[in-house]
Symmetry: C2
Subunit: 171 residues, 2 copies
């Protein structure tokens, strides 16, 4: 999307030294730009008959829930372990140091549902690959995996092979 980069703030050394963090809050606090981004996503997906949008805690909820409501789709959150109160499916995946576990409610959507997975940023792709695994466990039909920002150098797409992947802006 043209001109989007100037509304995304980059912050050096966050959350730790050597990391350049892309901050979407400057996009969200501009009502016209936030609307424009959501309109682009709406146009991309309105003809796809999406049943449910699945999004990853916490920034993914912002774009995912706004889009779900706009499309008239359902919304299902993926959260860190222990946060969802009902029966869950979980996936544990490796991080640079250690590992992490994410979960989805077992009744998040019906088997065969057309699912769009949304997050704010694609970096190494580890979390999103785990999210894809969760959606597949529940037999969701993944229409696309959608990001606002993609950090191309980190090759996150390699972890999402065989799936359509979309990003609005690439660094």
């Amino acid at each position: 999307m043209k001109g989007l980069k100037q509304h995304i703030r980059s912050i050096p050394d966050f959350p730790k030294k050597g990391i350049l963090f892309y901050d979407v809050t400057t996009l969200l606090n501009n009502k016209n730009k936030f609307k424009e981004v959501m309109d682009v996503l709406y146009e991309r997906y309105i003809e796809k008959d999406i049943d449910a949008i699945v999004a990853i805690e916490a920034r993914g909820f912002i774009f995912g829930a706004a889009l779900a409501n706009k499309l008239g789709a359902a919304f299902a959150p993926i959260r860190k372990k222990g946060k969802l109160p009902y029966s869950t499916s979980s996936v544990t995946y490796s991080l640079e140091y250690g590992e992490d576990t994410i979960e989805i409610h077992e009744d998040a959507f019906k088997p065969g549902a057309k699912v769009l997975i949304v997050d704010d940023l694609l970096a190494t792709g580890g979390t999103m690959a785990a999210a894809v695994e969760l959606v597949k466990k529940l037999k969701g039909d993944i229409v696309e995996v959608s990001f606002v920002i993609e950090l191309s150098d980190l090759k996150g797409r390699d972890k999402l092979k065989g799936l359509p992947v979309y990003s609005m802006v690439k660094y």
Copy 2:
């Protein structure tokens, strides 16, 4: 809102023994009900010229961001300490055991902006009282504090005195 309760799942002993947890994911994964809830909020606020919706991590993001987009307003997240990358204002508040700190970006909205604060659930009101303090620090003009669910017995409204408080459903 009529008939809403039957779409909110109650889960005993979550996150710990003795707590009855109200789970909104069963509302969110019903596309018609999710839309209906957002339509009610839209009707309530569309004439109020809201500049920005401020919402509390993480479930608050779901309702807050969807509503912001629907109203054409900006969105600003309140997060746990250390999660927001830019200069923040912070408030520390007491919990049953210990304390917690929440933050907002200093440029979340302009002084004088008409702000609606959104969260999924009003319990004791401690977190929302801290959120109100954050919005006041940035000189926001609070139009209302809005919840999907209110647990009336816990008297959270007492911590929000002098502010308009709205909830869609009361237990």
